[in-house]
Symmetry: C2
Subunit: 484 residues, 2 copies
């Protein structure tokens, strides 16, 4: 039923006629409430208790024992929420999303403010209902990153800040060293689309079990491993935008297509966390798509699509251009180095909001102050500031850290893949991604949601989630590019 | 929830990747079973009983009293079916649809035969569970045409046969009198699409509350009056195919867009019957789209899209071409005169099947014999014969008569509209369809499902459903064209 809701959500963003929003939201609320009713009831609870004894003797990672363990975890979490609260949240976030769209259109935060106040209020109630080990934010984080703690995120983020903030400051005077102006010529939209499809094909995306459409904001959704849909957007004067959206969403999509069919329609059919999912999109987007080997193969391909526009561009020029660093206002447009600073802003603000230390009405000012602190740039208006992200309007408070955790995991996983697959980058340079895809399929995708994020990382890399590999990677790559 | 299922159904036929069929059918069965569970239970039954007393004092056509009356009718029908039978039917028709597709691909009826045997068996069980006044087929007919009887359909069809069979025989030697070869030149697909959109726009279709897509078999689906979707297909060497599909589906779509918003998510939001719905598509397709006034306006428009292809074609030539009569094998391609003969074939066969007088394995032979009797043409293979329609594979036995009833109603309604709106055809000849649309909106669409089909016809036309107006219309129109 959640998958049926996902189809309605995809349709809403791709093909739904404009005036159908009201009817559609009513249909979505019906599905959400029904899904809750079907799952959260004593019968299911008793069944899970009984079955969890039955499977005790089976191996920890057997299908049956994993299924019961993961389903119980989900059940125990959801049953702490009342149907009333679930209904109120569904309503408040449907309205909130609408309010956010209106506020963006008018470029006025005040329009969104009352909606967000209601959402924060309900999210706090939700955190209190769920309970938490150390702080309220733990309860929210847990929805996106099971068993993660706020204190651990803080420790990782501190390490990152110590490395990244000075790095960004060091690059700042050197920004002009890297020229990406040739990425901003006029690129035919149809050809950009076809180039994107060619890259997606090379990554190993299965078009018999998925498709690509066009939306303002790119996303991936899966109704089944046999039906995985990505979207991208084409910006005529920006070759990178469509391409990296495709590669990023393609990384998410390979994950979904790689989940075993027998996990379908069970909680094992989901990734262990949003951060683990993001690790796959980031790995493809940055470790693959912004690497020299990738462009060794794809620069000639790009030039065959755009012979005039890319005439005379060589490998080094392209490599540097797609890795240009410059502090900017919009998170989704940010480069690899400054990206995490955008997350720190949101993480700081979210905790203050749920702890009652910051009033919603004071958000724009607090946002701008933190942007100044971390990135040294300040939005001129709410649309390029506090109103830029959809997440809060959807009630997804506690989600943002997953993006940075995904960045860290992407590097840890890619390091491991290189260690286990000698010659991996030579293959990539020849346009062959089969070994990498197979490694990710076997080591990560095929496990579905059997393990917690911590279990998975330890199983795949032999260590825990760490900031050091990421810091090493960023320092080495951008140190070279900017001659630091 | 039924509307959520409809979104999944639309997606399945438009954008779903090929290998997703299995997962999708599981999602559809989940939604169907849940919808049954939510509706057919004692609580709903008791509520309906209580409310039906409460609304007794209200006017018959008030929203509340109509809602209770229509919902009770639906409830009383559905509760006669066991959940077990509903589940088995959902499963058998999902498999049956798949089997039908395979059988068509291989052009072998034997592949479909076991599936259809199972479906007929379950449909007979369904008829027995529902009960019937005179014969088993009544119970099936009632699903598509509430309160209609088989004996009444037989009487109407006899009248039609007496008029149509000799008419077709009389036209047969004259077929060559009408030349439609210029409709079979090469017509650019994109221009056909745009011409279709222009016609749909002129009809008054609201594109903010709907859209048009492309599928092999055209259809209409509505998730709400604010979200109505039609599909068409473009055949490069057939100008009529895309155009009349658009006009036909557009007629269905205007109905759905015209249903009042306050009926949404209630049983009042559905047309009284499939025949009444079909009356709207047929009215637009045949009474409007194949009329002289329509082409007086749209021939120059068509010529502006296709100046070379339609050079020298005048109004009379176009009018005659789009009304060419010739007995043929495929129902959906049939002209207005022979169309109903295809329905008679299916009506005869369906009754024999559910009465146990014909075995499924003997269907192809019986089909071919009836085609010879009614139309004088015989299929060379199952694909152009017994395997051509989707309906039986979906369990829709009892549906076909609605097409012919829709043809009769279309003429009755259009006659009435002309009577009440003087100058209607002059407006049409000027490309203005607002008066017709308004009349249909007010007299038919705005009533939703408040009335039974019989009540509606009587309310709109002052008479009952009749064959005579249709026979008069056909005799007069085709008598003139073929000089009979």
């Amino acid at each position: 039923m959640e998958k049926a809701g996902a189809v309605l959500g995809w349709d809403q963003q791709t093909y739904m006629p404009p005036d159908a929003a009201g009817s559609r939201s009513a249909q979505m609320v019906t599905l959400a409430t029904l899904a809750y009713d079907r799952f959260v009831n004593d019968e299911v609870g008793q069944l899970l208790e009984r079955l969890s004894h039955d499977v005790e003797a089976l191996p920890y990672d057997s299908f049956a024992r994993s299924l019961i363990r993961v389903t119980r975890r989900k059940y125990q979490r959801e049953r702490k929420l009342s149907r009333d609260l679930v209904g109120k949240l569904a309503e408040a976030t449907t309205l909130g999303h609408h309010g956010w769209l209106q506020a963006r259109e008018q470029n006025r935060f005040e329009v969104f403010c009352p909606y967000l106040e209601r959402i924060v209020d309900l999210v706090v109630q939700k955190a209190e209902a769920l309970g938490y080990p150390e702080c309220r934010y733990d309860a929210l984080l847990d929805e996106f990153e099971p068993e993660m703690r706020t204190s651990r995120v803080e420790a990782l983020f501190s390490q990152l800040k110590e490395a990244l903030v000075p790095l960004v400051q060091a690059i700042r005077p050197q920004v002009a060293q890297v020229d990406d102006s040739f990425l901003h010529r006029h690129f035919d939209e149809k050809k950009q689309w076809d180039f994107g499809l060619a890259v997606l094909q090379a990554m190993g995306f299965d078009f018999r079990r998925g498709r690509m459409d066009s939306t303002v904001h790119p996303f991936t959704t899966a109704f089944s491993p046999t039906d995985v849909r990505i979207t991208t957007h084409v910006v005529p004067d920006n070759l990178a935008s469509c391409l990296f959206s495709v590669v990023h969403e393609g990384g998410h999509a390979l994950y979904e297509q790689g989940i075993p069919l027998e996990f379908e329609r069970t909680p094992l059919g989901e990734a262990p966390s949003f951060g683990v999912h993001e690790s796959q999109s980031r790995l493809w987007e940055n470790l693959v798509g912004r690497s020299r080997p990738f462009w060794r193969h794809f620069l000639p391909v790009a030039q065959s699509f755009f012979p005039a526009e890319l005439r005379g561009v060589d490998l080094e020029a392209m490599y540097r251009a797609v890795n240009r660093v410059e502090p900017s206002l919009i998170r989704t447009d940010a480069d690899e180095v400054t990206y995490n600073l955008h997350i720190f802003v949101r993480f700081d603000l979210e905790r203050q909001l749920v702890d009652g230390k910051l009033a919603v009405k004071d958000l724009p000012e607090a946002w701008n102050a933190l942007m100044q602190d971390y990135l040294g740039v300040v939005p001129r208006n709410p649309r390029e500031g506090v109103l830029q992200d959809v997440h809060w309007s959807d009630g997804s408070i506690g989600y943002f850290p997953s993006y940075t955790l995904g960045n860290l995991l992407a590097v840890q996983f890619f390091d491991q893949a290189r260690k286990e697959c000698p010659g991996l980058e030579d293959e990539m340079a020849a346009g062959r991604f089969g070994t990498l895809k197979k490694w990710l399929n076997e080591r990560i995708h095929a496990l579905g949601g059997k393990y917690t994020p911590a279990e998975l990382v330890s199983r795949v890399t032999g260590t825990e989630l760490q900031a050091e590999p990421y810091i090493r990677y960023i320092r080495s790559k951008y140190g070279e590019i900017y001659g630091l």
